[in-house]
């Protein structure tokens, strides 16, 4: 019989404070491939597991700049190069009239980039993920908090990890297959 390879070992908590303590101890013990799962955002927790910076703002800024530029250049090109039209003797490059569409395109591209960038960096949509192999994991969207030390961690050794996680105030500790 072939056993499925291990994805990691997962501990379950019933309150955020115990999860926070456990995450800090685990990170201080030198584990780096770990993730915590919560029903609502806990800002401090990301810091504790060593996740400090995200590139979402950069993606959003890039999207906004691209949107603004394309909006303005499109109007410039249409009114000066593709089909110059003399309307009441106004200049072809009547930039004040172009500001609104430029602004709207900046917001449109910036907003779409923020949303799609967030999903992309998060690796969503994800049709399959090993954490769902833990049957108790479905309560993560309800009232439970999880901490998972992944087998990919260089320090990972199933026995040691299990012992470490069991030393916390947990509800359950489970091995999660890949």
């Amino acid at each position: 019989m072939i056993e499925a390879p291990l994805y990691g070992i997962m501990a379950e908590f019933d309150n955020p404070t115990d999860l926070m303590k456990a995450a800090r101890t685990t990170y201080d013990a030198g584990y780096r491939n770990l993730d915590a799962y919560t029903p609502y955002p806990i800002e401090e927790l990301a810091e504790v597991i060593g996740f400090h910076q995200t590139r979402v703002p950069l993606v959003c800024l890039t999207g906004g700049i691209l949107g603004g530029l394309s909006g303005y250049l499109l109007q410039y090109w249409i009114n000066n190069i593709s089909y110059p039209l003399n309307i009441g003797g106004r200049p072809f490059h009547s930039w004040p009239a172009f500001i609104i569409v430029t602004f709207e395109m900046t917001i449109l591209f910036g907003g779409l980039a923020a949303a799609i960038g967030m999903l992309g960096l998060n690796g969503l949509p994800a049709p399959y993920h090993p954490v769902f192999n833990n049957p108790r994991f479905s309560s993560v969207t309800r009232d439970r908090f999880f901490l998972c030390i992944e087998a990919a961690d260089p320090k990972f050794d199933p026995e040691g990890v299990r012992q470490l996680l069991s030393s916390f105030n947990t509800v359950d500790v489970t091995e999660v297959p890949e």
């Binding site: 609502y40 806990i42 395109m105 969207t141």
Partner: protein, 469 residues
């Protein structure tokens, strides 16, 4: 972690004594999830809901019929003619898009201002925005004359080699409204993702699980995901804030950029935005008051929400009143005979009764909101909100129709009388709006579950871990 009913919510501690909390104490993570999720997953079909869908659904049928006949015969079936070429269609467009503004104000601006009371009402207010924008978007297309050529409004390479006129406010409107619709949808959907995960995990039947699972895109509540999620949400709020202010500004440009007396004023953009939020909050109250009653959500949509929304309505109503006063003052101060004539025409002309009704509805009656007893009496407040919606619709009618029907030359004056097809399309969109809301509240969690959880005291980290670092 049991929460006794005597324990306070976090938000309650920041309140002055005597004010109701934003979340009634006694809830736990589980009870919140069940209460909101069960409306979608467990609640049986009720007579009230079916009756509501039947009534408003009939109006949708009226809309479909009126629109089909409109496409068949053309805009001549409406009362519009030169000089009043912008009848109900533009009145309703401006009215609906204004109603949408409150949803974005609640979801974006109040988020940036860290108003925790927004958490329980933002989801359905955003849905309200989406449906209101959908209703608004129909009208310019109906009004096109050849609606099947609506795509000509967008710049795309075509065999004719021509492009939209980018110096026209009507083209600005296309960009403003389509951006507003898109970003409102993205904001609403991003806000839904974690709750769709909750619904997926809560659902019992296989297909419900699959549908919510697909929509949740595999959300698993990872702390890394949450961090990116929160950043993206904040960025979207930051982008939606100038956007919402710009949309009604651009709508007001449709009028202000022209030279017609009564339209050509600089007060229009701020006055339109304030009016939009005014009517939007009236619609929020018209929806929130029955929803909290019939779905037993008085512990999540508390009197605090109702009271705050009423206060915002009062404040924006006063800004609108200032707009009316400045409009009149400006006309006479300008010493422009056409502006003066237009003001007198507004007050005492053919549509004078409309003007005084709108002043009564928008200016006089809402002053009762100064009284706390009215703000906390849901029935009175509901009636005042309906009054404001009616008043704001009249305001748009007075702006659009009175100026057009009475321009510079007496030879080009005329009177606009709406036909039954004008009314059919208008009431049809009201039906479309409410049917969409009815369906939404039974299909999606109408209160953001994860955001309300952060209001619970048990979501706070104990001092020993929070103070570390």
């Amino acid at each position: 972690m049991e929460q006794g009913p005597e324990e306070k919510t976090i938000a309650e501690e920041q309140l002055l004594p005597g004010q109701p909390p934003v979340l009634t104490p006694g809830h736990t993570f589980g009870s919140l999830t069940d209460k909101i999720g069960d409306i979608v997953l467990r609640r049986p079909f009720t007579l009230g809901w079916s009756l509501g869908v039947a009534v408003f659904g009939t109006l949708v049928m009226v809309l479909v019929f009126a629109a089909s006949y409109l496409f068949f015969r053309g805009v001549g079936i409406w009362g519009i003619a030169i000089p009043t070429a912008w009848g109900f269609a533009i009145v309703n467009f401006v009215w609906w898009i204004g109603i949408g503004h409150a949803g974005t104000l609640i979801s974006a601006i109040l988020l940036l201002l860290k108003q925790s009371w927004r958490n329980s009402i933002n989801r359905f207010a955003e849905a309200m925005t989406l449906f209101a924008v959908a209703c608004a978007g129909m009208f310019p297309i109906f009004h096109l004359g050849r609606p099947w050529l609506a795509y000509w409004l967008f710049p795309y390479p075509n065999t004719m080699g021509v492009w939209p006129q980018f110096r026209s406010p009507l083209v600005w409107d296309v960009f403003a409204v389509s951006t507003y619709g898109t970003i409102s949808f993205v904001f609403w959907y991003v806000g839904l993702i974690p709750d769709l995960g909750t619904m997926r995990d809560k659902a019992k039947s296989l297909w419900t699980k699959r549908v919510f699972g697909l929509l949740a895109m595999g959300w698993r509540g990872s702390v890394r995901h949450w961090k990116r999620y929160e950043v993206a949400y904040l960025l979207l709020a930051g982008l939606a804030t100038p956007l919402v202010l710009s949309v009604h500004t651009v709508v007001s440009f449709d009028f202000a950029v022209s030279i017609l007396p009564g339209w050509h004023t600089t007060i229009f953009p701020p006055y339109f935005v304030a009016g939009a939020i005014y009517s939007g909050f009236a619609m929020v109250l018209v929806l929130a008051i029955p929803i909290r009653r019939f779905y037993g959500l008085k512990d999540m949509i508390t009197m605090r929400h109702i009271d705050n929304a009423a206060k915002i309505m009062l404040a924006t109503g006063l800004i609108v009143a200032y707009g009316y006063a400045m409009e009149a003052f400006y006309a006479f101060y300008s010493a422009d005979r056409y502006e003066i004539a237009q003001s007198l025409n507004r007050w005492f002309g053919h549509y004078g009764a409309f003007y005084w009704t709108l002043i009564t509805c928008n200016l006089l009656i809402p002053q009762v909101l100064w009284i706390k007893k009215v703000r906390t009496n849901t029935i009175l407040l509901f009636l005042v909100s309906l009054d404001v919606l009616w008043g704001m619709w009249l305001e748009r009618f007075v702006i659009v129709v009175v100026s057009l029907s009475h321009d510079f030359l007496p030879s080009s004056w005329g009177v606009y009388v709406p036909t039954r097809w004008d009314y059919a399309v208008f009431f049809g969109t009201i039906g479309f709006f409410f049917v969409s809301m009815f369906i939404f509240i039974r299909l999606m969690p109408m209160i953001p579950i994860f955001e309300v959880k952060t209001l619970l005291p048990e979501s706070a980290l104990k001092a020993e871990v929070a103070a570390h670092d």
